[in-house]
Symmetry: C3
Subunit: 270 residues, 3 copies
């Protein structure tokens, strides 16, 4: 079956299985992350305290960790939830928001990578470079987060962690270290609304909750958001940001496998 058909199949599975997506996330985009998972066909649940995350993740299909607004209480909850998810075979997605900007974010992302087996990491190029470079540094090698070969850094990180790495940007890169999917969907307006990256991670989480092929799940989430951006840009006359944001949710609520089949602009990197 062609890659694009399989990606469309992820969406069908989300709609059919309604995965429970447990998110420990930041308070900036949390509402959007809940709404986009609902629109995509999943069921979001937010719980971020150490006193309940172990129980909550146990009933979830997937755990999404987003380090956008960290504090010591939520860091503890992320680690506990992630470890419990690992024990139970529940996949974990990491969104390393702003990693590199502060020591707390970098340390927390590294600690999560060290203590929790991850299914997918979804970030932008600079975030992934930090993660790849930092790991390299601890091994005495400067992988060159400033050199900028994003694709190679993503592959290296994916291989080391045994996880899928999804790097979103003008061209999206999704890799499991071996295969690389490039995606050209999307619209620049996505960078003018807060939390669109977080929302992609939430969509990726929903997909990861229904299939063991995390590369496909990640690609389906990335492509879905890209298509949503294209639709919303046109529907909002290319520049009404309030309308654009609302149309993103409209589109994700209405997206069908046929949209992916007709609209995905992906290629396998040779």
């Amino acid at each position: 079956m062609a890659l694009i058909d399989q990606m469309a199949g992820v969406l069908s599975q989300v709609r059919a299985l309604r995965p429970l997506v447990h998110q420990i996330t930041n308070y900036v985009s949390v509402n959007d992350c809940a709404n986009i998972v609902l629109a995509y066909g999943g069921a979001p649940v937010m719980a971020d305290d150490a006193e309940e995350v172990v129980e909550m993740v146990a009933i979830a299909s997937v755990l999404v960790l987003n380090i956008g607004t960290l504090n010591s209480r939520t860091i503890q909850a992320m680690l506990l939830a992630g470890q419990e998810a690992n024990v139970r075979g529940i996949p974990v997605v990491l969104d390393p928001v702003g990693v590199g900007a502060t020591r707390l974010r970098t340390d927390t992302a590294q600690r999560i990578m060290a203590e929790v087996k991850l299914a997918v990491i979804r970030g932008n190029a600079s975030e992934i470079a930090v993660l790849a470079g930092e790991i390299a540094t601890t091994r005495g090698v400067d992988a060159g987060s400033t050199v900028g070969n994003t694709m190679l850094l993503g592959q290296e990180l994916a291989t080391r962690l045994g996880a899928v790495v999804a790097i979103t940007g003008a061209q999206d890169i999704i890799t499991d270290g071996c295969r690389i999917i490039l995606c050209d969907n999307g619209h620049p307006l996505l960078t003018r609304v807060t939390g669109t990256g977080c929302m992609v991670s939430a969509l990726v989480g929903a997909g990861v909750g229904v299939t063991a092929d995390y590369l496909l799940a990640a690609a389906a989430g990335v492509v879905s958001m890209g298509l949503a951006g294209e639709y919303a840009a046109e529907a909002s006359s290319y520049g009404n940001l309030g309308a654009f944001r609302s149309h993103i949710i409209d589109f994700i609520g209405n997206i069908a496998p046929s949209h992916i089949l007709a609209g995905a602009r992906i290629q396998l990197h040779a």
Copy 2:
């Protein structure tokens, strides 16, 4: 005066008295809960720290407690605020979001029910079943949260607590243990936007802030949200979730007593 006229009167009172609705709530739907109270005619205020909730609730018309994203800090604040509200005769509304999913949520809901006299509990059928069943269990009786006679469970809970219980779903049930109001307003799309339950609780809170007849206040809030769902579904072409969400607020901002008089589909259960 007919029930429906009285419910319309609650809305008029909210507009006239502009109740201050103090909400200690989750960070997922908090913005929507503030905006819907404003749209309905109330004045929202959010404060969740033990250091200030006692003072804040003292100037409020009503306190709404929502356990959607609990932690030890906010649990303490909820109990302190609830007890102070009781001392001052300020009514308290509880939304037991996700009760039953974790021990923390169940324990907290039970502790609030034990330590704070409640005016209204607003939840969905499974949440109310947990509350009713758990209470029954502690008395050595299994009220049967799985048996599923939601109406009876609601009545039992209402009678035990001396509170109004509002159970929202395909058909809404509002009862004070004696009278039962059934409401058939609403639209399935309300389940595809996060926080619509929380928003109903916020509307109920605004009503409770202006009348001692909590059954009426709860019914007015439930019917208002149901009518909003019907309007928004049509206005958003039955499936644009971003637009649907925005139209909910449009409608609540414009709702007049005449909308309730013309649109409420309620009946007193014989």
Copy 3:
């Protein structure tokens, strides 16, 4: 250059320089505050923990402190971030949300004013009166927060703190203690959406991040939000609050210097 041209110039500078606006703010309006800064042309970043705010503010163009939902953790972070900003010459904006309602808010606002040198304070008339009156009281003088000469209170507060004070309301007052700019833009619907005050403070912050003339930056932010209110009121048929809110962001995303030149209704108070 005329005042209005200079204000338009602030907007051009925001678009050109893309200031990083670090906000430690409440969880009610935080998403709107991020989105409006993005729409205006700035780059928002939210971080509120003592473990990272010192590093985060060091890379920021401006720090905005908003006391809407305080707790001991975020109060500590605000003070640390504010002091670090002072050391580094990064301007600080304070939004004293709800000051006067509780001792915690009043004490925190006063502590921030005592320990952090502020560039701008943006509040409504009663908030500014509390700040002015409280300060006066500690000096043995009752400046009369109930007397109500808002303009004089604003001037006094500005002079004492060496900061710009922006008081938003039916008529906005922006003063550095010496000059007073009065602004008649805006629309009453702005009071029916939560967080519009917080959003003005965020816009002011973006402006303060690109110019040392804080009076101009504050006036540009206030006028921009006023114009957005006027546009959104008309675009939402004067009363659809969901649409109104979305159109605010539409307008701020599209606002050009020409909008300020054509629409600003400001005067220098003689």
